[in-house]
């Protein structure tokens, strides 16, 4: 009886081990099952999902105009102070003064890509971009100004 158990154990154990080896052996002999995407070589074809959140950008049109009114809704919505908006008073043609953005400071090093600012924005001035290659040698370069130099607000955006 003891011997039967003993041989049974040896048999069962060896079988379970061989089962595992069969699986790894199968994948070894089927190189077509390899899943690897070769990242730096596939950059031409690599496409992120539409909703992928890589960084906050402020789209400008061809006239170097953006849609940001400087309402600071995004600044309030941001949970960790990633966005700082510095506003200025701009003289309108009709002589009135109007609030406009001076600099839209965006701290990429703090940003968690939570999308709350984009949701909060009433005028769709900011969006999430699909870029992700942000590596830098110097941390200071991660502090970005989103409005391009000399840009101004689009007509009709309140």
């Amino acid at each position: 009886m003891f011997l039967k158990d003993y041989i049974g154990t040896v048999y069962k154990s060896s079988k379970s081990l061989l089962k595992g080896m069969k699986l790894t052996g199968y994948y070894f002999s089927h190189p077509k099952k390899i899943l690897t995407e070769e990242y730096p070589d596939n950059r031409a074809t690599l496409k992120m999902a539409d909703r992928f959140r890589g960084e906050v950008v402020m789209p400008h049109d061809e006239n170097n105009e953006h849609r940001c009114t400087g309402c600071q809704a995004c600044e309030i919505a941001c949970p960790n102070g990633t966005i700082k908006i510095i506003t200025k008073q701009e003289l309108q043609p009709d002589g009135k003064k109007k609030k406009a953005i001076d600099t839209f400071v965006y701290h990429l090093e703090l940003c968690t890509m939570c999308n709350l600012c984009v949701v909060a924005c009433p005028s769709d001035a900011i969006a999430m971009a699909q870029t992700f290659e942000h590596s830098v040698y110097d941390k200071k370069q991660l502090k970005k100004t989103l409005n391009k130099p000399g840009s101004k607000i689009m007509e009709g955006v309140e």
Binding site: E37, G81, H107, H134, S135, Y137, K139, L142
Partner: protein, 176 residues
């Protein structure tokens, strides 16, 4: 990323009458070896560690670059990827691990928490606001957490930095 083509060996073939001689600079070979054999220390504190694991998995597979030899002991590691928040209690440990690593050693700060405290920058009492307060950092990758591809990009960026080092003589500076 300036060059994406694969560099086989940092040398030129010098043509002579019968055959050729492979000519190379010692600096180039050293940098080639170092940059292509970055063994990371297994060091992940939070979410970014999962993306670091993803970078090792079959889809992204950082073993293509020779990074897959993750060492559990700092003595055998060349690179420490700080993946996750560093808090006050952890900072001395991180410093110690860094000191235990043999030269040359490199640091990648992965994710917002590591670079600056990120989501935990404001109103927290225990988070170190940037790992560069503790150890010197070579490459920063923002993101929360960055994609595995972003980590690979950071490692390639680091490789480029290493390739511009000089073993004999002053170091060159590069802009990125």
């Amino acid at each position: 990323m300036a060059e994406t083509e694969k560099m086989i060996f940092p040398a030129q073939l010098h043509q002579t009458a019968d055959g050729g001689i492979v000519v190379s600079k010692l600096d180039d070979i050293i940098n080639w070896a170092r940059s292509n054999s970055l063994w990371p220390l297994v060091f992940g504190t939070s979410c970014c560690a999962i993306e670091m694991m993803s970078a090792a998995d079959a889809k992204y597979d950082w073993s293509r670059f020779g990074f897959e030899v993750a060492r559990a002991t700092p003595r055998q590691a060349d690179l420490i990827i700080v993946a996750g928040t560093i808090v006050m209690k952890m900072a001395p440990v991180l410093k110690r691990l860094y000191d235990q690593m043999p030269d040359p050693k490199y640091v990648i700060a992965m994710g917002a928490c590591t670079i600056s405290g990120g989501p935990f920058f404001y109103n927290t009492y225990s988070v170190v606001k940037g790992v560069d307060h503790v150890i010197p950092v070579d490459v920063y990758i923002p993101g929360c957490p960055p994609r595995p591809e972003a980590l690979l990009h950071a490692m390639i960026t680091l490789q480029e930095k290493i390739k511009n080092e000089t073993y004999f003589g002053p170091s060159k500076t590069i802009e990125k």
